[in-house]
């Protein structure tokens, strides 16, 4: 190895040695930096411990010499911790740019300690080491941002999945009659879930009638209409007749202009009307005041 090649590697090793030797001091300073201080509010010791873990990770990365590699194994141990820290900052309304700045702000206190290690901080070796530290800290910043972003994506995806399931309950209204109140956007993924839940319930409840109430669906375009028709057709194959209720006047007009023909589907204005329809077809005696009849002559 020529001296030329050795220099940067040697600087990285020197930074590693520095991070290990000055671990305690660095952690003490970082614990007071906004990134850690604002997250670990209960105990300063926790902030110090978190800072030490980051210093150890950086030392490991420096040892591997891959200062600019965000996939360096050394970050593995702190990735989750940094992600949680960034997420905690984000929850308090911190923008990603601000979090990035707070990570960047960790460099100055560490650089100050590093500079103090050299009798002449202007000497070339000192400059090389400071540069190595700067690279290392720059990469750390990217790691935090990447971790924070992917944590956010996971979170959104999780919430989306929960929403998918939470908003498509199948309700048993009567022996042989089930209902699904559809709420929100019916994109392809949700329509699929709705259809599966409904068909499962048709089998489980031995349903003869399934009411699809779309009062809570804001937009009925050709795709949503197509999904409704497919669901109705599939339920029919399972031996259940579907009734679509809750088509609001504005949506009815729009569907007609769009050119969608729902003629093959039984529709009723309200969920209660649909229930009465199903009960009558099942020859259930309806006596007393029936909610669906209210408001009608």
């Amino acid at each position: 190895m020529s001296e030329h090649d050795a220099a940067p590697g040697a600087a990285a090793q020197q930074v590693r040695a520095f991070l290990e030797r000055r671990r305690e001091q660095i952690a003490q300073r970082w614990a007071d930096a906004p990134l850690f201080r604002t997250v670990f509010t209960v105990s300063r010791d926790e902030a110090v411990e978190a800072s030490k873990a980051v210093a150890d990770a950086l030392a490991a990365v420096a040892a591997s010499g891959r200062l600019e590699d965000i996939t360096a194994a050394g970050y593995g141990t702190v990735r989750e911790q940094l992600g949680r820290t960034a997420a905690a900052r984000a929850r308090t309304g911190c923008s990603p740019a601000r979090i990035a700045d707070e990570v960047a702000a960790l460099r100055a206190p560490a650089a100050e300690l590093l500079r103090a290690e050299f009798p002449d901080p202007a000497a070339p070796r000192a400059q090389e080491c400071l540069l190595a530290l700067a690279l290392l800290m720059g990469t750390l910043r990217l790691v935090v941002m990447e971790t924070a972003l992917s944590t956010g994506e996971d979170l959104i995806e999780r919430q989306r999945q929960q929403l998918l399931e939470a908003t498509t309950p199948v309700i048993k209204l009567w022996d042989g009659i089930i209902a699904v109140p559809l709420i929100g956007t019916l994109d392809s993924a949700r329509s699929q879930v709705v259809m599966e839940n409904l068909l499962d319930a048709v089998v489980a409840e031995r349903a003869r009638y399934a009411i699809l109430d779309i009062t809570g669906v804001p937009t009925v375009d050709s795709l949503v209409a197509q999904h409704l028709m497919k669901t109705v057709a599939a339920a029919r194959l399972m031996g259940a007749e579907c009734v679509v209720s809750g088509i609001r006047p504005a949506i009815a007009q729009t569907i007609v202009h769009l050119g969608i023909d729902l003629g093959a589907i039984v529709t009723r204005a309200r969920l209660s009307d649909a229930l009465v329809y199903a009960l009558r077809r099942l020859d259930v005696e309806i006596s007393g005041p029936v909610p669906a009849v209210a408001g009608r002559p």
């Binding site: 804001p218 009925v220 375009d221 050709s222 795709l223 197509q226 504005a250 202009h257």
Partner: protein, 148 residues
């Protein structure tokens, strides 16, 4: 037709199902802000939903531009759906009720045209597709193309 003074265009990406939901939401907001009634809002949002999905599914993604417009006293909303996809080879065929190359109902383009006041398609095979629609506020004089 002029764009309304002091009201800038909003540009929204169309690259996912989530973008479609957001685009509908933004069109609803813009229409409500201009004072569109519920039926008109619903028609415009539904047309937007069809055209934005075409941009996504057939055009491979693109963007939506929402611009408040004025013509004399009339106020309206212009929506442009822009993609750089394959374009539409036979526009007349594509505008036919029930024509689809993708297993849909084939009502998106033709249905959207019936829901709005003005409708224009600029497309070239290999050169992308831009569909522009305008909805004028009800109760206002609707400008005729070619006047003013």
């Amino acid at each position: 037709m002029q764009t309304s003074p002091g009201t800038a265009a909003t540009i929204l990406p169309i690259g996912s199902d989530a973008d479609l939901a957001w685009a509908r939401h933004q069109v609803r907001q813009a229409a409500a802000a201009l004072g569109f009634g519920l039926v008109q809002q619903t028609k415009l949002i539904t047309a937007a939903s069809e055209l934005a999905r075409n941009t996504l599914v057939h055009g491979g993604g693109g963007h939506l531009e929402i611009t408040p417009v004025a013509h004399g006293k009339a106020r309206g909303l212009r929506l442009s759906f822009v993609d750089t996809g394959p374009g539409i080879r036979d526009l007349e065929l594509a505008m036919t009720d029930g024509y689809t190359t993708g297993g849909g109902l084939g009502l998106g383009l033709s249905g959207a045209r019936r829901l709005v006041h003005e409708f224009r398609v600029d497309t070239r095979p290999g050169g992308g597709t831009t569909v522009t629609v305008v909805m004028w506020l009800a109760g206002m004089p609707v400008p005729r193309p070619g006047t003013g």
